[in-house]
Symmetry: C2
Subunit: 334 residues, 2 copies
């Protein structure tokens, strides 16, 4: 049988485990041109909360659907010449053990990488950080770069990439421990606790001449604080807005918009990594070089077992993770 | 004597004539390297209201200062080899009859153009529209372009430039008469009255597949409505936010930000025409060709007499103008 997490109803407000149910379905029949994949590692992404709403970059996950999610899997049966059993792939495999897809829905992965690395730095997490920093943010050496959710999956890599590029990097994280970790373990120049009293003042003091780039994973009050510290020709990389996914009616954004963009000649630009598929091989080549040299640290918290997926996503949305969060539900067969 | 409008105090909320006073000052002495200019045409710009606040792209106009403003003037006396009496210039001449400047503060103008054209299409108004549409908006033929304050100085030119570029152009203006004028006189494809009930619905119906470019002079509720109709890879040109200049505490911006920029991969970018000085000759060459061919209509409402400047700015901020607003206080001497 194929165990699957079904979304029972569209969640309202903060996500709870009650909206999911673990069910069993028959193992799917492999039709001509189809590939059956065993999911080994389920990527947990804050955006999954947004996918349950109408306004997302993907079609909404509807009640009755298997919950969507990026996965690293291994082909178990193939009726396509493009893939053979044992091949390692990345796909939108969902919260389930087995998934039937077609070759156009699969990205072939290097089987020599660990599952931890495939789901984090070489997955959409690492490439999101890469394209956000270099293609949208277009950082230059010496620039002041601010990264929100700096202890998170994308933020932890984005900040390190900006450091590699020669920038002065300030992270924002929740709580003093995460802030210390971001500086001591990841090598950020500074980190600020957005939950601390006087956060806005601390931000102003941390960048007295303002920010060149803000890599934003959070939105909301943290974005509003950043908008008050833009340098001329600043860029805001709108990667995510995790502060808002769980809110039924998100609060409005800063009254500094749009005027501050005009007065500072600033650019605020959104992107989704799926638009950069063509550039992925080059991005991965760079990321691999920095991982190998030790310049880029990869941090992943891997949960074990399909039954823990909803819990782990809820902890992620509450900001209780460091680095990439994922759930391992199988191991590579050789 | 040199008559001048002095700002008496920093205005709070809606601008009134009470904050200005017309005074007389001695004719300035022309020092070495200086140029004395007689202002002939004072440009009225909504941004002048923002200059009276702290957060502007220029230094704040302080109480006791001659009110700032772009002007077209003619050199009356020069102690610089760069300029001679009779030369026509554009400068930040302020609300006064005479101004003493240095050559680096002057832009030489073609004396064969009319003062009306020099202050509008060949002044910062026309070049703002040009760079906003082509360099920030980067319009392509067939795209859907929305322009706010479409009956205004910059909007009326921006929309016509987008038409020349082969776009489908929708204007937004205040009241049915201005909307009719924007379509019938300026050749926009459609125009919507932002004061009408159901404006947001009308906007959605006017661009069922969404907007590629929004040239925004207004901010506020009109921007919020546009954000709900962005096509993939849409661009918002943040040119001005006239709906906000007169507000002491501007309202926050749409809760769609920043998420909608991510989901639509959209770019929101501010600019100030002064950053494009190097490209000005080429911009003016294009604008002149379109004016000469009749493709680009130039509309200017020229008030007469220095005593009417504050009144005319207040009418402009209330949206009671069509095309460029200016005040003529002298004529070209030949």
């Amino acid at each position: 049988m194929n165990r699957q997490w079904i979304l029972l109803r569209t969640p309202v407000g903060a996500l709870s485990t009650q909206v999911f149910e673990l069910r069993e379905a028959p193992i799917p029949h492999v039709g001509a041109g189809q590939v059956l994949i065993r999911n080994l590692m389920l990527s947990l992404d804050p955006a999954a909360r947004a996918w349950m709403k109408v306004t997302s970059y993907r079609g909404q996950v509807m009640p009755g659907d298997v919950m969507h999610g990026f996965t690293i899997g291994q082909v178990v049966n193939s009726r396509s010449p493009a893939y053979k059993p044992g091949d390692v792939v990345e796909c939108m495999g969902g919260w389930q053990e087995l998934v039937l897809l077609t070759p156009d829905q699969l990205v072939r992965r290097n089987p020599n990488h660990s599952l931890d690395h495939l789901v984090s730095v070489y997955g959409i997490t690492g490439t999101t950080a890469y394209h956000g920093i270099f293609d949208v943010g277009r950082v230059r050496p010496g620039e002041i770069v601010l990264v929100s959710a700096a202890a998170g999956a994308v933020g932890s890599i984005a900040g390190q990439l900006a450091k590699i590029a020669g920038c002065h990097v300030i992270g924002i994280a929740g709580g003093p421990e995460k802030c210390r970790w971001v500086v001591e373990e990841l090598g950020f120049d500074a980190a600020l606790d957005y939950k601390a009293a006087g956060f806005a003042d601390q931000l102003r003091e941390a960048c007295p001449s303002g920010l060149d780039v803000f890599f934003d994973n959070v939105g909301g009050a943290v974005l509003d604080a950043a908008l008050a510290n833009l340098r001329m020709h600043a860029r805001i990389v709108c990667c995510g807005s995790v502060s808002r996914y769980d809110r039924e009616v998100p609060p409005p954004t800063s009254p500094l918009l749009p005027s501050v963009l005009t007065t500072r000649r600033a650019r605020m630009e959104g992107f989704v990594v799926l638009d950069y598929t063509a550039q992925r091989p080059v991005a991965e080549e760079h990321l691999e070089r920095w991982v190998t040299s030790g310049e880029l640290k990869v941090v992943a918290e891997i949960n074990q077992g399909l039954e823990h997926v909803p819990d782990a996503l809820i902890r992620l949305l509450a900001g209780e993770n460091r680095g990439k969060s994922a759930v391992q539900i199988g191991t590579l067969a050789h």
